[in-house]
Amino acid sequence: MDMNSVLTVVLVLIGAPIIGCLASGIDRRITARLQGRVGPPILQPYYDVRKLLSKDNMIVNESQNFYVVVYLIFIILSLLMLVFKADILMIVFVYTVASIALIVGGMSTGSPFARVGSSREIMAILSYEPVLLLYALAIYLLTGTFKLSAVLDASTPVLMYTPLIFIAMLVVLNIKLKKSPFDYSTSHHAHQELVKGMLTEYSGPGFAIIEIAHFYEYVFLTGLIFLFWAANPLIGALIAIVAYLLVIVIDNITARVYWQWMLKLSWTFLLAISIVNIAFLYFSGVKIV
């Protein structure tokens, strides 16, 4: 590790939560405006985290906090791997460990609400994971390697040849950010579903760490969208921002669906269009490097 990479790590560790916090604040502001309200200040998520850190930590068992820390560490790790242009397949796996840590944490508390939320989150993983893997496969077919450095060095954007996977990834973004219509494992803010779903038993600092990990996750997920046009970082960032805003709008204009709907949607429609896209890449043999 040279000086430069140490600097990058520090920058990511400090910068990502700030961006994520602002993104979450903007989300709440836009949501309020769409509902005809004034809405909270942009820095509201920061106030929330600060408040949560000053409260008592009420736990039902010791391991509960351990899983939260695992969740945070693996989210940060997957974000760092993304920034350091590592192996996309590995990033997907590391990211899955993070999601699973939260599920196990929810299960360990023994609350029926947390259990229902956790099992629904398992369904969510079941529905988005294949799409994420096919996304990694598409990058492999286009560049001949899973290494993300090839994507960033390429002159042609990935999106040129993967428009269908892009559509599928937008839905994945929606599922992972836990926005309507897929917000049933746990929900954000004023939405309520089965008390608080997976996160029912977390309080104070434990919940604050989950919120901070969410900030990192916001940056990580929009980073995955950014990769679609990494050839020109400006356009890539623009696409990521537009995708994020689109998810917020979808959140506000749709109602929550059954988890069966999501599974059907992803295992029929999303998987089908992704496979069509992969088949096209495979048989045409296009390369972007």
């Binding site: 709440r28 309020a32 509902q35 005809g36 309200r37 004034v38 809405g39 909270p40 200040p41 509201q44 106030y47 929330d48 600060r50 408040k51 949560l52 000053s54 409260k55 008592d56 930590n57 009420m58 609400f113 803010h189 004023a190 309520q192 008390v195 608080k196 996160l199 029912t200 038993e201 977390y202 309080s203 104070g204 919940f207």
Partner: protein, 156 residues
């Protein structure tokens, strides 16, 4: 100031006639928009700061009330909304009613009225916030309210 900027409330309905509940929910609607002060109606007691009780306490739900109170992490305040939660209201001499919420758990602020207006409820929350801040500063902790098993009226 850290607590006052994001008060999360949990709403406990003890035998309320629904009048107070509807007014409480009205606080969150676009007209009053309590979220602009960071106020959220949270589902789980473990993440709440302010416990809002509506309705009078009766023998069936007294243990539920204690249970929820015990599950809120410190610092916490209790806000009794409406005549029923404050004193028992029009139900005070019913055969099954214990009385106001303060008979069971320590109540920090009361909102009068049957039913109170949403403005009054928001006022009550603001009053509760300064109490919350003081509790944080003085490190005043709510003591655990013991469950006594089956609560029965003395004349039963």
């Amino acid at each position: 100031m850290s607590l006052a900027k994001s008060p999360w409330i949990i709403h406990v309905n003890c035998n309320s006639c629904n009048g107070c509940d509807i007014e409480l929910v009205a606080c969150l609607t676009p007209l009053y928009d309590a979220e602009r002060f960071g106020l959220l109606n949270i589902g789980t007691p473990k993440q709440a700061d302010i416990m809002v009780v509506t309705g009078s306490v009766n023998y069936k739900n007294v243990n539920v009330l204690k249970n929820i109170y015990n599950q809120i992490p410190d610092p916490k305040v209790v806000l009794a909304v409406g005549a029923c939660a404050s004193t028992g209201g029009i139900f005070h001499d019913c055969y099954n009613v214990v009385g106001g919420a303060d008979q069971i758990i320590p109540v920090d602020a009361y909102v009068p009225g049957c039913t109170p207006r949403p403005e009054a409820i928001i006022d009550g929350v603001v009053a509760a916030l300064s109490i919350l801040e003081n509790k944080k500063k003085g490190n005043i902790r709510g003591k655990e309210v013991k469950l006594t098993g089956k609560e029965v009226p003395s004349n039963a």
